[in-house]
Symmetry: C2
C-alpha cells in the first residue's frame, strides 16, 4: 500500500520558452531550476515540471505523445473574482481559452485555459472546498 | 500573481471500474467520493480524480481526447526497495510497464507504469528529494 501522494507533475513541451512565459508571466510562478530541457516550479508539496517532449518521450520509453491529452489540472482560487482575472493573465501570457468562466453544476465559477502546449488548466472557485494557508485542499471541507 | 499550487489532477477514463482497480488495489488508495462518472482520491494537499472521458471532454469544451498524452505523474517512494514492489502491485492491478525500473542520470531508481487509461506514472526513489511526514517534497532538499 503506497502513501497517497503525487510528487511531480511533468508536462511535455514543444517550446519551453513559450511555456515558461505562460507559467512565469501568466501564473506568476518562479522556476526553482531550469536548463534548456526542463524547468521546475515548486507547488504545494509537489513539483511541476515542463520537459521537452522528446526528452519526456525518451524517459517514459514510449512513442509519439499526442494532444489534447485526456487530463486536466485545476488551480483553485480563494475568491470568485479571481477566476476571470487569472484567466485573463494566462491568455495574455500565451494561453488559449477552452471554456469561458461559467458556473458548474456544483456551484462556484470555473473556466478552462490551455497552456501553449495544449495542456488544460481549470481555474476554479469552488466554495465547497476550503484552501488552507499552505494552499492545500481536503475533499469536501 | 497566483499562489503556486495545483488543486486537482483529473485523469480521463474510458472504464472507471478498471481504473478504480488500479488505484484502489494497486496503489492502495481509498476513494473519498465516487459515482458512475467520477472517483476522487485525497492526496497530499490535492485531489486526484478519474472522470469519464466523455464527461471530461464536455467539461473542458474540447474535442476528442488522445492517448498517450504528453504528461506524466510521479509518485516518489521513501526507499529504493519500494520501487519495484509498487510497480509489481500496479501491474497486478491492471497497469502496464512502460519502462522497467533503472537508474536515471541523477541517481536513484525509477520506472514507468501506465494506468489502464494509458496515463503514465513514474515510480521513483530519488535520494536528492526528501519526503516529509505529510508526503510532501520541496525541490532539492
Amino acid at each position: 500500500m503506497a502513501e497517497p501522494r503525487v510528487s511531480l507533475i511533468t508536462l511535455g513541451s514543444r517550446d519551453l520558452e513559450k511555456s515558461r512565459r505562460f507559467y512565469v508571466d501568466g501564473f506568476g510562478w518562479k522556476p526553482v531550476f531550469e536548463n534548456d530541457e526542463i524547468i521546475f516550479y515548486q507547488l504545494n508539496g509537489l513539483i511541476l515540471s515542463t520537459f521537452a517532449d522528446t526528452s519526456l518521450q525518451a524517459d517514459m520509453a514510449r512513442g509519439e505523445l499526442l494532444r489534447p491529452g485526456a487530463f486536466a489540472l485545476a488551480h483553485n482560487v480563494r475568491a470568485e473574482s479571481e477566476v476571470k482575472a487569472l484567466m485573463n493573465d494566462l491568455v495574455a501570457a500565451g494561453g488559449r481559452v477552452l471554456r469561458p468562466a461559467d458556473a458548474p453544476p456544483i456551484g462556484g465559477l470555473r473556466g478552462y485555459v490551455a497552456d501553449p502546449d495544449d495542456h488544460a488548466w481549470e481555474i476554479a472557485y469552488n466554495p465547497a472546498f476550503s484552501i488552507d494557508d499552505d494552499g492545500n485542499i481536503v475533499f469536501g471541507t
